[in-house]
Symmetry: C2
């Protein structure tokens, strides 16, 4: 067996352990009785510990050092990503890893109490500890990979994109928003005020039609399931994707949009390159890339005029009550300054991300003390959206991310939204009659194009290289602004 | 950390991996889309491989050799069982283990085609290979543990019980059956011929009441789930037990009895000693012991006059049609000579086991050639029950066990049935008003007694020692014969 073959076997073994952990994570959210929680945590952490052991074995490091430069482009990239994964696993001292696990577990637990009580003081000391440890880890990872501490954190979620790439994009968007948002609000006031028929919309009917819409969007249910969980997500593995949602009987569109969002993620996983299954190069290209795939389905395709013209009669029939297109648009294409990120519309959502991007950079650099976070949050939101949260529950306590040690993740959401607009513009040019297909509920021409230009590349390219190959340009936020202008200002 | 503590940590880690594999096995049977099968097989075999690696590490062997004799009885037994597990894992050469996996996979695949076609010739050569490899493994395990080859196979499923314990019990039962069966058949002819109301009995209603009956039997659904699968089983882990069943809308009693059977297994798992969780000594005492717990619920308690007097009006109400006690008894307490083991009643079931026990001993010793199995099967069944299968589908092709490499397992079923009768007799003496509780659908006094005398002992005792402690006697088949006589001949 060649050194490279031996490496692929080891990485496949590690990936297989991670698959097992992913299935157990899905089960914990969608199936597990409450009493199984403690044992499940131990099962998942045992699997993670073994995967880490396999990744940090000296024999693996020896093989990585000995592996000959590969002639094949995929192999060369795979080796590069193997080395990166191995370096990431060995960079942090065990003491620090364990201290972070303890600190984030404790902090998340305190946050679960502090958020509903809007009591930042109750979690402040614990969050300080989390940021101190995260800063230490960021410094070590930065040295290992030749990055700034904050960029080292970002690169955990989206390789090859740093603060210097993101900052100007965000600054420009802030300028765009200052003009676009009031204009969109003004235009909105003049729109029809039709509403959806009142509920309830039975959960079982919602579930059946979510399944149907996901299938029509291209999801292969021989390799997927749709279930219910408190927080919707896409989990599982490429040949057995598990998506979840929750059903609100007063609002069917929440589950429909949620399921189509997760379907976008799921299609990416299902169409990853099979020849490179369980290899680093065969994985999705990062979280911004992943988010672009959920958002191109949920925001670009499903909210298009063409698709909504299909969806309105489809829903009318399924629920046996009149759902008209104007009411759908009013509900799904509504812009509003609000406090909660996860409920924000696509125009104001980036403001929430920009706020967090700036604050987490300052928290990592030490320019902002955790104690000053609530004030800085409120000032920042006021500057971006002109509104001030009435309490920390609707301010700096709303997201789990930081309290769980996730720093550097937020930009992925908006990079994904921007990339989705850029990809849709390219797809519209490349694929004739895309909107004609949308008008009959058929997303397959889009999915085929995405599969060819994004999914099947796995992690062969970085985020910008992927966009360059697919659209002829690196990330260019102009497409997103054009999209918003057409949808909300035209 | 003491040597013993280090050992318990290692064994807990191995058990945690096995828990993860158990959950994935449940998911494969109850949830997984068909397309996930290949990856799932790889996930489970990766976990098994890692558990085997951990169990065969030289450091573990060193610790086992160095561990001081424990003062505490539980610790001493745990060490003994740790050594046994480690010896079992290291005894067989890797070549043999891998050859058996390949041979049994292939043989099971051929069997899946051969059974419906009743074509023994199609699987014969493959079964010969399975038995040759099983015989080789049995020889090595026998040498390791100082047992005969067949006893070494039996001990994989029920430690401490060998052919010499079982053979006289079975010979006696055969004599009992020769008189009891014709007498029971004669008495049956004179019984009322009332029948259950015709179906369908909706699966959803069946499921709801199976859940209710399992709960009333003591199953804690904060630590358990009930789902559907093609083949009913009890899986999962002690704090998260997963039982499954299938629903036949023309016959509600099949699912009800099935779920209560699995509930018996589940109660055993839920009540294992928590202080010894994930240690060998904390596991159930073996497959015969486990089967005694499912059968004491399904056969002893649920089919008792008292419980059936509760079940009849309960079912009448749930299905809104008259289910009378006489019809229930006629359906659930019916004796019949038949070809298929899994459909057999409790009186003839042991004959099916006795047949297999004798045949598999002869196949392992070489006294019987695989080629001669169909004839020997048919002769054996004729001698035991006076009937001859019309084809091999209803003869030696009916069970998956041998084709899957499971040899030495069958006696557990009947040892379990006999132990269940013995335990019920002891419980009736020890617990006042047991049948009064059954008559109100309440199994808790029985479960409490079982929990104290069986469940909470884990693997502290062997099968016979467990029965001795619980009932004052080692396995004594007299209680089973007394039970059958009272139920079918009185």
């Amino acid at each position: 067996m060649s050194v490279y073959q031996r490496l692929t076997e080891q990485f496949a073994r590690i990936a297989t352990l991670n698959e097992a952990a992913a299935m157990l994570g899905w089960d914990a959210a969608a199936m597990m009785p409450a009493g199984g929680g403690v044992a499940r945590g131990e099962q998942i952490s045992t699997l993670a510990g073994l995967a880490h052991e396999l990744l940090t074995r000296p024999a693996l490091a020896d093989d990585l050092a000995a592996a000959a430069p590969a002639g094949d482009e995929w192999q060369a990239r795979n080796l590069e990503l193997m080395r990166e994964a191995q370096q990431r696993a060995t960079a942090l001292p065990r003491r620090l890893v364990e201290a972070r696990v303890l600190a984030t577990n404790k902090c998340e637990m305190l946050w679960r109490e502090a958020r509903p009580a809007s009591d930042f003081a109750a979690v402040r000391a614990s969050l300080e500890e989390v940021f101190a440890l995260t800063r230490e880890a960021a410094g070590i990872l930065g040295e290992t990979f030749g990055l700034s501490p904050y960029d080292a954190l970002m690169s955990q979620y989206q390789r090859g994109i740093g603060a210097a790439d993101v900052a100007p994009v965000f600054t420009n968007y802030e300028l765009f928003l200052q003009k676009a948002l009031p204009a969109a609000e003004e235009r909105q006031r003049r729109r029809s005020h039709e509403t959806l028929p009142p509920g309830p919309y039975p959960a079982d009917i919602q579930e059946a039609l979510c399944r149907r819409l996901a299938q029509d969007a291209g999801l292969d249910f021989a390799h997927a399931r749709l279930d219910r969980s408190a927080h919707p997500f896409c989990g599982g593995t490429p040949t057995d994707v598990r998506i979840t949602t929750r059903y609100d009987e007063m609002d069917p569109l929440s589950a429909i949009c949620g399921v189509l969002h997760e379907t976008g993620h799921a299609l990416y996983e299902q169409n990853l390159p099979r020849d490179h299954r369980r290899q680093p190069v065969g994985e999705a290209a990062g979280m911004a890339a992943h988010e672009s795939q959920s958002l191109i389905v949920e925001m670009q395709a499903v909210r298009s005029d063409a698709y909504l013209s299909y969806l309105a009669p489809f829903l009318s029939q399924a629920f046996a009550r009149p759902v008209n297109e104007a009411a759908l648009k009013r509900r799904l294409l509504h812009v509003e300054r609000s406090f909660i990120r996860v409920e924000a519309d696509e125009m104001t959502y980036p403001a929430h991300v920009i706020l967090r991007f700036r604050l987490e950079q300052a928290l990592i650099s030490g320019d902002l003390a955790v104690a000053d976070l609530p004030g800085a949050w409120n000032d920042g939101l006021a500057a971006l959206l002109g509104i001030t949260p009435p309490d920390d529950r609707q301010g700096c306590l709303q997201d789990i991310h930081w309290y769980d040690g996730l720093v550097g993740y937020f930009p992925s959401y908006t990079l994904g939204a921007m990339a989705a607009a850029q990809l849709m513009a390219a797809a519209r040019l490349a694929v004739p009659d895309l909107d004609k297909a949308f008008a009959s509920g058929d997303l397959s021409p889009l999915v085929t194009w995405l599969s060819t230009h994004i999914h099947r590349h796995g992690s062969r390219f970085g985020f910008n290289e992927l966009l360059l190959a697919a659209t002829g340009e690196k990330l260019n936020p102009a497409a997103f602004e054009t999209h918003l202008t057409a949808r909300y200002l035209a």
